[in-house]
Point group: C2
Amino acid sequence: MTGRLTIIGTGPGNPNQTTPQALQAIAAGEVFFGYGPYLDRLNLRPEQQRIASDNRQEIDRARAALDAAARGGNVCVVSGGDPGVFAMAAAICEAIEAGPETWRRLDLVVLPGVTAMLAVAARAGAPLGHDFCAISLSDNLKPWELIERRLRAVAEAGLVIALYNPISRSRPWQLATAFKLLREILPVTTPVIFGRAIGRPDEHFTVVPLGEADQQAADMATCVIIGSAETRVIERDGMDPLVYSPRAAGP
Amino acid sequence: MTGRLTIIGTGPGNPNQTTPQALQAIAAGEVFFGYGPYLDRLNLRPEQQRIASDNRQEIDRARAALDAAARGGNVCVVSGGDPGVFAMAAAICEAIEAGPETWRRLDLVVLPGVTAMLAVAARAGAPLGHDFCAISLSDNLKPWELIERRLRAVAEAGLVIALYNPISRSRPWQLATAFKLLREILPVTTPVIFGRAIGRPDEHFTVVPLGEADQQAADMATCVIIGSAETRVIERDGMDPLVYSPRAAGP
């Protein structure tokens, strides 16, 4: 017997930003795997099974979910934001490639969601209005030297940069180092946006120039967007400024 | 009197992927500006006014919408996907910066949506599972040389590349040129994904190696995702392959 595995993105945290497709999949699911705080947001019914695990145990969680789906049943794996952006979809695929043949025959569905950088960008105006990239600042699974090389390459090429996983208790210095590196390439006036829990009661949102960007403004759940040299700030009386990257770009 | 301007992203086309927040804003809107085919998807009520314009008239549309909002009323500007990704939010910000002071005082709200690359990636597996970028291949508003420089920089840095606006009647050769350039940097086996209208009846989805990627597989509404050297393909009997980028990266 072969079941179904649905990898669900719930969006950035505001329940109003979860797609109807994701809500339907959650209503139909029987067993749910995910990071505890994400599962808490789902309002599951008593008969829906909840298997919470720590945020760092992605590959174990992926294997457990695949195993449960292979035994039959309707299994869901839940990510915040979009499951394909620094989240569970890649871990599931890794586990499938290394796992038994039966896992390849599963009915696997990935449901996209609004990823954090899109919610933060919408709150700011349109900082991703031109070419941009998303880079994870975590050096748990890649060497720090590679991250520095990538940051340098994209900043020199004029891309706006969205940083995921900017900081954590076990990675305390990486964000400050990234700011320092970027200040060597970009103007100190380049806007930097810190966005966290956008659209929720505990929302945190600030815009500062790169020259004054302080890693203390970020925590694990913050998405940091660093403009390009062309990104602009429009000041507005009594409101947050608008930050946007023009559609046109110079030579 | 000052009205409200809401910039709405409707998601990639499957109505089930439009957020409840966007649906509520559409229900409350009085006047709608947008590209005709996007407005057609909204199921507006007879009293809701529809002002359709051509896809290339973004800045004129932005000014007209700002002007209508400044005269009062609840004005909506509609984009497919996410309005902040190569869409209307940046055009509105540009118009505000160049426009009258009253436009800065408008109640401006941007509602994010699932952008095309996320829907295509979900259909494929997890090709954006690691660092990635989004680049518009349109040289209407930036020089082609800059696009080539950016493609080279991100491919050499190991980022997965999502291409927006890959081809159009007036830009017939750019995608083939991009593939040629990328074949000089990436292995010819690198997976290339063509995704169009994912989740709709006219869905088009293919995966080919970079060495065989043909621009004929794309049209104006296609999002093309080009893997990094680390992106992998898992073949599955009787199903589309899974394409994913591992969370870990070398060297």
